[in-house]
C-alpha cells in the first residue's frame, strides 16, 4: 500500500486474498475520517453504517466511498452545501447511489461542497471551508471540494462528484487525483439536485485511471427516471485501457496555452503530452477558435438555468422557511433571501436578469448561438484528432481567501473546463506531476468526442503509467 492508501484495485486484491474483510476496511476509513477530517472538512455527514453484502466478483464490492452532498440517499440528510436544506431528509435514492449499492460499494458519508455546486474553491460551502490535503492553507478547488479532498486525503477509496463547468475535474487537478466528467447523458442524474440542467453530469473522482474506469462502468447507462440519459449500451471501460496508443491522434488547442496559464502548469502539461508522444501518439496543433467566448456563454446559460432550478426552494414544501413571513410573497422572499448564501444569490440574480423581458434575446439567445459555435469547434476538431489535450486549470491550488472577494477571478479558474460542458463532450483530469515552483499537483485534461470515454481514459492511463515509470 502506497501513501495514497487503498485504490479499488488494491483493496479488491486484499479482500479477495482474505487478508482484509469489507467490515475492517470500512472501519479503517471511519477511523481515518475521525482522525483527519477535522483538518480537511471533506465530509458533511458520516452517519452511515456498513451494509452486509455478499462478496461478489463486482469490482466495487466492499469498497468504501463518498457521495457529494447533492446526491440523494433516502432517509438521510442532503444539504447541497446550503443552509436552506440544513435539515432536509431525502425522500428517495439517486440512481447513482442505487447502482453503487447494488454493486456492493459501501457508503462512508456525504461530502462537503460549494453551495448548490456553485464555486471553484470549496469556500462557498455554507458550512466549513474545505481544505486541500496537500496543503491545508490552500483550497481544494470546487465545487466537488469534499469529494476531491476525501480521495486525495485517503478518507475514502473513491467518490462521486458532479460537474457543471469543471466541478469534478478542477478540484481533482488541484488535489492531485483523477476526475472524470462523462458525456452529457452517460450517467443518470435522477436524485442529483438540479443546478444547470443542460450542463450537469455526475462522475467519479479516484486515485487511479483504472479506478475511474471501474466506477464509470458501474454508474453509466440509460435510466427511465432521467430522460436525458442516452439509450445506448454501456461497456466495461477497463477493458480497453491498456491498448497500444501508437498512432493515437492528440490535438493540442493553441487557445488553451495562452495568457493566464501559469508557467509551472504549462511545463507539467507539456511533459505529460511528451509521454504520449514517446508512446507513439501523434501530436497535432489544433484550434478551437471560439474558446475565448466560453466563459461568457457559461455565465449566461448557467445562471439562467440556476434561476429556474432554484425556484423550488420556496419555503413551502421543504427546506428553510422564514418564521416571520406575513404573507405568501414574504414566505418566498424572506426564506430565499436568508436561506441562500451569496453565490447562489449572485447567480439567481444574474440569470433572472438575463432571462428578463428586454434582455432575453441579447443575452440568452446570443449565448446559445455562441454555444453552437463552441460545439462546432469540437466537432470539427474531432474530425482530425481522437482526443484533445491541455491543462485542466490555469494555476495550481491557490491560498484560501485569495479569490473569495472577486467572483470574476474565481470564475476564470474554470476557463479550460467550461467549454467541455457547453459542448456536452467527456473529459478527464489526470495528475501530471507537481509544479516546479509550488510543489503542488497539476492536472492534464483530455477531452474526447461524444461518448468517447474509452479514448480519454486510455490516453490518461498511458500518461499515468508513463509518469510512474519516469519517476
Amino acid at each position: 500500500m502506497s501513501d495514497i492508501g487503498y485504490t479499488i484495485s488494491s483493496a479488491r486484491a486484499a479482500l479477495e486474498s482474505g487478508s482484509l474483510t469489507p467490515e475492517r476496511l470500512f472501519e479503517h476509513y471511519q477511523r481515518r475520517i475521525a482522525e483527519h477530517d477535522g483538518d480537511i472538512h471533506a465530509y458533511r455527514n458520516t452517519k452511515f453504517s456498513f451494509i452486509p453484502h455478499e462478496l461478489e466478483t463486482s469490482a466495487l464490492s466492499g469498497i468504501p466511498y463518498a457521495l457529494k452532498d447533492n446526491m440523494l440517499v433516502a432517509g438521510s440528510v442532503a444539504t447541497g452545501g446550503s443552509k436552506i436544506l440544513e435539515h432536509y431528509v431525502s425522500s428517495y435514492d439517486s440512481t447513482a447511489y442505487q447502482k453503487l449499492l447494488a454493486a456492493g460499494a459501501q457508503l462512508l458519508g456525504k461530502t462537503n461542497m460549494d453551495e448548490f455546486a456553485m464555486g471553484s474553491s470549496g469556500e462557498n460551502s455554507a458550512y466549513e471551508v474545505v481544505r486541500n490535503p496537500r496543503d491545508t492553507s490552500r483550497v481544494p478547488g470546487g465545487s466537488s471540494a469534499g469529494s476531491a479532498a476525501a480521495v486525495a486525503g485517503d478518507l475514502c477509496v473513491f467518490s462521486l462528484g458532479s460537474d457543471t463547468g469543471g466541478s469534478i475535474r478542477q478540484p481533482a487537478a488541484l488535489c492531485g487525483v483523477v476526475g472524470l466528467k462523462p458525456t452529457y447523458g452517460r450517467v443518470s442524474r435522477h436524485g442529483l439536485m438540479a443546478m444547470a440542467s443542460s450542463l450537469d453530469q455526475i462522475g467519479p473522482i479516484t486515485k487511479t485511471v483504472h479506478d475511474s474506469a471501474h466506477v464509470l462502468s458501474v454508474i453509466a447507462g440509460h435510466d427511465v427516471m432521467d430522460s436525458t440519459t442516452a439509450p445506448r449500451e454501456t461497456q466495461d471501460y477497463t477493458e480497453s485501457l491498456e491498448q497500444d496508443i501508437t498512432g493515437l491522434r492528440v490535438g493540442i488547442p493553441e487557445e488553451y496555452f495562452g495568457e493566464g496559464l501559469a508557467d509551472e502548469v504549462r511545463e507539467r502539461v507539456e511533459a505529460g503530452i511528451e509521454v504520449l508522444r514517446s508512446r507513439g501518439a501523434i501530436i497535432t496543433p489544433i484550434s478551437l477558435p471560439h474558446s475565448k467566448y466560453a466563459l461568457a456563454v457559461y455565465y449566461i446559460i448557467q445562471p439562467s438555468e440556476v434561476s429556474a432550478n432554484l425556484n423550488r426552494y420556496d419555503g413551502i414544501r421543504y427546506g428553510y422557511s422564514a418564521p416571520d413571513a406575513a404573507n405568501l410573497f414574504e414566505v418566498y422572499t424572506k426564506s430565499r433571501g436568508s436561506g441562500f448564501g451569496p453565490e447562489p444569490i449572485r447567480r439567481i440574480m444574474l440569470g433572472t436578469y438575463a432571462l428578463s423581458a428586454g434582455y432575453f434575446d441579447a443575452y440568452y439567445i446570443k449565448a446559445q448561438k455562441v454555444r453552437a459555435l463552441i460545439r462546432r469547434d469540437f466537432d470539427r476538431a474531432f474530425e482530425r484528432v481522437d482526443v484533445i489535450a491541455g491543462p485542466t486549470a490555469p494555476t495550481v491550488a491557490f491560498p484560501i481567501g485569495e479569490k473569495s472577494d472577486d467572483p470574476l477571478a474565481m470564475y476564470l479558474s474554470d476557463i479550460y473546463t467550461v467549454p467541455v460542458n457547453l459542448a456536452g463532450v467527456p473529459a478527464i483530469s489526470v495528475p501530471c506531476g507537481v509544479g516546479a515552483s509550488s510543489g503542488l499537483p497539476v492536472g492534464l485534461q483530455f477531452i474526447g468526442p461524444m461518448f468517447g470515454e474509452a479514448a480519454i481514459l486510455r490516453a490518461a492511463w498511458h500518461v499515468e503509467q508513463g509518469l510512474i515509470a519516469n519517476k
Binding site: 447523458g185 449566461i300 404573507n327 433571501g337 459555435l373
Partner: protein
C-alpha cells in the same frame, strides 16, 4: 453599472429579500460580470441556430403501461409532505396571498 432600482427589480423578480449591503454587493458583482459578458457582442452568430441541448434526443417516451413504483400510501405521503413547514392533514398549508 446597474442602478439601485434595477437591482431591486431583479431581486423582486427572483423573490429574494436582501439587505442593503447585499444589494450593493450584488450591484457591484453583477455589473462586473455583465461587463465581461459583453465580450459576446463581438462573436459573429449570423445564420447560427441556438444550441439548447446537446443530446439530440427528443420526446423520450416509455411504454404506456402502469409503472407501479410510486404507489401512494401513508408512508409515502409522510415522505413527500412531511417536511413542509406547515401542514394540515394530507395537505401543505400556505400563507394567505393577501398582504396583511
Amino acid at each position: 453599472m446597474l442602478t439601485e432600482k434595477e437591482i431591486e427589480h431583479i431581486a423582486k423578480l427572483a423573490r429574494l429579500e436582501l439587505t442593503h449591503e447585499m444589494r450593493e454587493r450584488m450591484r457591484k458583482d453583477l455589473s462586473s460580470v455583465l461587463d465581461y459578458i459583453a465580450l459576446l457582442e463581438t462573436a459573429d452568430t449570423s445564420g447560427v441556430e441556438p444550441l439548447y441541448q446537446v443530446t439530440g434526443l427528443q420526446n423520450q417516451t416509455r411504454p404506456d403501461v402502469r409503472r407501479g413504483d410510486f404507489s401512494m400510501d401513508a408512508a409515502a405521503t409522510e415522505r413527500l409532505i412531511g417536511q413542509a413547514p406547515a401542514q394540515q392533514g394530507r395537505f401543505v398549508k400556505v400563507k394567505s396571498v393577501k398582504a396583511t
